[in-house]
Symmetry: C2
Subunit: 357 residues, 2 copies
Amino acid sequence: MNLPKPKTVNVDLYIGGLSNIQNVPNLVKLSANESALGPSPKVLEIFKSGFNLKKYPDGKSSKLKETIAKKFSINEDQILIGSGSDEIISLICQSFLNKDDEVIMSEDSFLMYRIYSQLNGAVVRFAKNENNKFSVSETLKLVTNKTKIVFIANPNNPSGTYINSDELVKLRKKLPENILLMVDDAYAEFVTENDYKSGLDIFKNSKNTVVSRTFSKIFGLANLRLGWGYGSKEIIEAANLFRPPFNISGIAEKAGCAAILDDEWIKKNVEHNEKWSKIIFEKITSKKIITNDPVANFFLLNFDNAKLNSEQAFDIFINNKILLRKMNTYGIKNSLRVTIGTDEENKTFLDILDKNF
Amino acid sequence: MNLPKPKTVNVDLYIGGLSNIQNVPNLVKLSANESALGPSPKVLEIFKSGFNLKKYPDGKSSKLKETIAKKFSINEDQILIGSGSDEIISLICQSFLNKDDEVIMSEDSFLMYRIYSQLNGAVVRFAKNENNKFSVSETLKLVTNKTKIVFIANPNNPSGTYINSDELVKLRKKLPENILLMVDDAYAEFVTENDYKSGLDIFKNSKNTVVSRTFSKIFGLANLRLGWGYGSKEIIEAANLFRPPFNISGIAEKAGCAAILDDEWIKKNVEHNEKWSKIIFEKITSKKIITNDPVANFFLLNFDNAKLNSEQAFDIFINNKILLRKMNTYGIKNSLRVTIGTDEENKTFLDILDKNF
């Protein structure tokens, strides 16, 4: 039988972290950088009041765009709504990349930049890090006349490091104007360092930079799939062409509006994260596990100098019902990633560290 | 400034129906073929029991695939889960279409076949209808060695007509084997005609046909964005490469499982639809409005022989707080589409017809 032939694509498959392990009930999942405290109580109130499930959502997500625009003093018509910031990345790749275009990203950044670029036929160039951080100079070395997009996550996942605002501004200035810079702000809300500015803060008025934001991290809505992007009208219009007409649920829109307005809850989440990330950092480093400074809601743990290697550590945590993220798919050796959890989850994590390292 | 240039695409924009009209509160929306009775009470029970919003959904939607596979006696690994059947269409187009490939669809079918095909660089050929129905012979006339996909919605939206199972089998047999046939079953559950079989029923074991199904119509979950596709392992694997890792919400998965298992509720919906579609059909035709036989949960109304034209009719319904779907974007002249609603909504609709035609 002569069958229909799919397109030939050369793509690294996305292999997510485990979310459950056979025969381990009640597993605590500290592997996906999800929120410790969960969504705002105001979101939960909305859930209690019910939804009209049978009707299609507003395909323009008008209320969400209005709410975001007000909150950040930005323009509604420069906002792109996505099913997670994941879809923002996908829409940008779909609208800008042609076959054999090139993109640049750091050697250990979020897998989806690579995957969506490859799905659209682009070639991915990996810039070396400097001191485990995104390097502006290494990135600039890879620019050719085929380069279309440069991706940066700041802070970066999974390394947990960030570059300061001067560096980020420098990157944009030194990149040719016709290269699109995409700044992923997924963990921006957690950062309290003085020399840090989010992509949105820096590039609100940029013509050639697009910023992505997510409701899956500090806002605790990973389950609902919601994110957004911001860029010039031209960029957002181009990406919107590829956006499915009803790409987010009506429930996600409603929850997103409530979540983004609850400043008190955001503050509470930042404080929880700041407190615990410092405590956990102290303990990790005292155990000769190498890690990043406390910046976002997770740590990348390297076990080269530690008592046990990453495989042994993973197993010990699993036996204590804590799931950490393996780093094989990122190609990062002898390492695990841990998310900051609830008070109780963090105490258990520290206790296991203490007893075994 | 030399700016980043988006890809050049030649695409018809999707222009959805209106969902609200300024200064008309409490509008009854009979314009989007949504469910009359809404979701199963079992779905509503799930909503009351709460969700873990902060955790990512299962990226494989394993429980939903297991539930669907059991219900229809099909294989889990041949199921593709999408954010609405819309995403199934998109994933099939992404995985099969290269620039300058051709696709064939009927002249008045669902807009998204055309849009996703164009977004992937394909050229769309429109087959003429016969008696307002999809025509196998007209479709076959358009086949060239560039044809990659033939789309058919059965029943078709917006014409409200269907082709019988013999015709559908004939279409597959006469199409070259290497052309992918995509059968959209969006309204299949509503059909009670004896000579009708759904795409899933006919093509369960086909190597070169893919079927799409939705939770937005009879299951009343349009708000949550959920659909699925079924095809050979090869087709589903190819499409899954392009599927985002978390393309549906965890809530949609849970609701979908409950909805698909509630046979009693499905039956109730079919009965409601059968009863009202017959009553509405009688009234429509008595008013010299031309329409399709009662098959799905909507009617396409042509006003050529009626007392008022489609614009006048639209306005009269709006003044009575009923929103119908205009057919301009489909290029169908002097016509409107109406969805079968609740008892009360249908009575209002009939009453307005009676008073004005």
